[in-house]
């Protein structure tokens, strides 16, 4: 398959790993690289990249799984809407995310109606087919997903649908990078920056951050060869003592990003503070529906209050998301907390750090 097979070539991977080994041995210190995106975490685990790296190169998984950082109160609110007869329409990942007492999967098992969407368009179709049913699309995600999710509002306006709205829990990546790099408890030497988020925000978006914080930022694709090549880019910068933005995913990411998508998003949304599960409030890291479109904002339309705070105190997802511990360092990992009975959100999403560790990371040999 084009753009996939070339980037999963084992000979190329072996050559890149040799170069990484050479670079790593020339550095007399440990290098902590945070991959911020859940898809990177997944690919790293699936292809055994963490285990294949030299001992002094650490990959730390960051908070880049949108499902994982969605607060329990948001799930509670979605279930509550469902109980009131509103139909939540959602991507499948959200189904098993624990709220404070239940999950959408359990709500559905009790007879509640939850619609699984493979595309936000399905929510629009649902609303068109059932004009007397209120449909709420659970609009969760980073910049990549924001555009398609907001198209729900756009379609509702264009098609004059009075029964369609979105419940937002959007996140923006740059404020999260700022927050993580200023946390004194975490030492990050470089960021492996997300592929598809960068396609929207553009490579240039990282420049002020890299310069101010003196942290190398390398944008890499999601295939294993992309990731290994990205690590080489990072190690070269660490070796040379530079801190610049390097775009290694230029086949998709432009310096200016996708201006049209950003304008589209800005039409309907404005920056707001956001609560990150396990982390807390990160100022200006969210996006909420603009006042003039409040009719399409489920929170306003149904007067929904989202409770802040993390329900299960034993859950270490916050520390996992911040890269302070690895999933297997959490006492509940693979014992109490498993994909079929997740305690924390990192185990729920297929892109969650704990899920990736559970599924692929328990490596042999």
């Amino acid at each position: 398959m084009k753009y996939v097979d070339e980037f999963r070539n084992s000979d190329v991977a072996a050559a890149l790993l040799r170069e990484i080994a050479k670079l790593a041995s020339s550095l007399d210190k440990a290098v902590n690289i945070m991959e911020v995106c859940g898809s990177h975490t997944m690919a790293i685990a699936r292809h055994g990249i963490r285990e294949a790296l030299p001992a002094n190169i650490n990959l730390i998984s960051g908070p880049g799984c949108p499902v994982c950082v969605t607060e329990a109160g948001y799930i509670d609110a979605a279930i509550e809407l469902g109980r009131q007869g509103v139909v939540p329409a959602t991507f499948g990942d959200m189904l098993n995310v624990p709220g404070s007492k239940s999950s959408l999967a359990k709500f559905r098992a009790e007879g509640g109606r939850v619609e699984i969407c493979y595309s936000p368009d399905s929510a629009v179709e649902l609303a068109e087919k059932a004009p007397n049913t209120e449909i709420v699309f659970l609009a969760v995600g980073f910049e990549t997903t924001v555009g398609p999710a907001v198209s729900v509002i756009d379609s509702a306006i264009n098609k004059s649908l009075g029964n369609l709205s979105i419940l937002t829990a959007f996140k923006q990546i740059m404020p999260a990078l700022e927050a993580l790099s200023s946390d004194p408890e975490i030492r990050i030497d470089a960021f492996l920056c997300p592929a598809h988020v960068s396609a929207i925000i553009g490579a240039d978006a990282y420049k002020p951050f890299a310069e101010k914080r003196r942290i190398p930022c390398v944008i890499a694709g999601f295939e294993p060869v992309d990731i290994l090549y990205g690590i080489i880019g990072i190690l070269k910068q660490v070796q040379a003592g530079t801190a610049t933005v390097e775009n290694q995913y230029s086949r998709v990411v432009k310096p200016e990003g996708n201006v049209r998508a950003r304008n589209f998003i800005n039409t309907y949304l404005e920056t707001a503070d956001a609560w990150w599960r396990g982390i807390g409030i990160i100022p200006q890291s969210g996006l909420s529906v603009r006042q003039e479109f409040a009719g399409y904002d489920a929170a306003a339309r149904f007067n929904v209050q989202i409770q802040r705070g993390d329900p299960d105190k034993r859950c270490q997802c916050g520390n996992v998301l911040k890269g302070k511990i690895r999933p297997d360092q959490c006492g509940m990992f693979a014992k109490v907390c498993t994909p079929e009975n997740p305690v924390g959100p990192c185990m729920v999403s297929s892109e969650g750090t704990c899920s990736a560790y559970f599924k692929y990371g328990r490596v042999i040999g």
Binding site: M1, R8, A14, G38, G48, A52, I116, P339, R362
Partner: protein
């Protein structure tokens, strides 16, 4: 909270396994059901018969490459085949929703008849029920099948030894992804159709290799990963898959990459996993490949490695676990 059945209890993963162990085996597990065979081997005078049953609730009932009618025949025929039986007789039960178009029923029954002919089985008994609108999703079907055990085939996990070859009869995941795509309006072009089809032709290709054939199974619900994990569970051997050896069609790859669902976890309805002595692998492969339904057959791995695990070498040279899927397969968010 009161315990309720979730969809994942029927997904073929860990929740299904627990439900069957706790609720079915605890009540019925003392006889031939003990090891939960997809088909039971029962003595009858000098011969042995193979007996199996399966229910079909696929939605949509017309999907790319087939419909519920032929699926109902192949599903049971294949369970009989992989237990080492030559399928002979089928029962056919229909549960039909009030208001179901007769034209659709005719199409489904025509396919059922055609599939039965293709497999050389006769439908010998049946039942028809109609339920009120809303009480079933169009049409559900159940078939039971009886076959005669092939002499000279001894199948079972206990016969598997380190070094044996693991063969798959063709590309995997087509049925599950074709149905998923049809159900959710994912446009995949013409490339993605269900693989649903009979395995009795493949069975006959394996028969001449006698006791060199150790195990056969059709990787339906839960896919190849579920079958391989069932094989190694509690055994003193594991299975090591070769990197990139598992055959996957372009259509399946596109959908799987897009949704983040591993084809190893997705159902096939016309494929066979066969484990045999290494010395018989080439012969069985060429036998399989002589048939249209086996033209994509290949060796995907070897019995060996860490006991009780299924592993695959990744491109970085590290082995990773291929685990049992945990429940309902859900697409990822981005």
């Amino acid at each position: 909270m009161e315990e309720k059945i979730q969809l994942a209890h029927g997904g073929g993963g860990k929740l299904s396994a627990r439900l069957i162990k706790d609720e079915i085996l605890s009540r019925f597990g003392n006889g031939p059901l003990r090891n939960l065979p997809d088909a039971a081997e029962l003595p009858l005078n000098a011969e042995k018969i193979i007996y199996s049953t399966d229910s079909f609730v696929v939605s949509p009932y017309f999907f790319p490459g087939g419909n519920i009618g032929e699926l109902a025949v192949y599903g049971t025929v294949n369970d009989v085949c992989v237990a080492g039986g030559r399928p002979q007789w089928l029962s056919l039960a229909l549960i039909i929703e009030e208001g179901f178009p007769l034209e659709n029923l005719r199409r489904i029954l025509d396919s059922t008849a055609e599939a039965a002919n293709r497999c050389g089985v006769t439908i010998v008994t049946g039942d028809t029920k109609v339920v009120q609108k809303g009480n079933c999703d169009g049409i559900y079907m159940n078939t039971s099948g009886i076959g005669i055990k092939v002499a000279g085939l001894e199948l079972g996990r206990r016969r598997i030894k380190p070094g044996d070859a693991v063969i798959v009869s063709g590309t995997i995941g087509e049925h599950g992804f074709a149905v998923l795509a049809a159900r959710n309006g994912i446009r995949t072009g013409e490339g993605l159709v269900s693989d649903c089809g009979p395995l009795n032709g493949l069975l006959e290709q394996a028969v001449p290799f006698g006791d060199k054939v150790k195990f056969m199974r059709d990787p339906t619900r839960g896919g190849v990963a579920a079958v391989l994990n069932e094989i190694v569970e509690g055994m003193e051997f594991g299975i090591e898959l070769k990197q990139n050896a598992v055959p996957v069609s372009e259509g399946v790859r596109s959908v799987s990459e897009m949704l983040g669902i591993d084809p190893l976890n997705v159902a096939c309805e016309g494929r066979m996993i066969l484990i045999c002595d290494q010395s018989a692998a080439d012969g069985i492969l060429s036998g399989f490949r002589s048939l249209p339904e086996g033209k994509g057959a290949c060796v995907i791995g070897t019995v060996g490695g860490l006991a009780g695990t299924v592993t695959m070498k990744t491109i970085t040279g590290v082995s990773r676990l291929i685990d049992l899927p945990s429940g309902e397969l859900l697409p990822r968010i981005c």
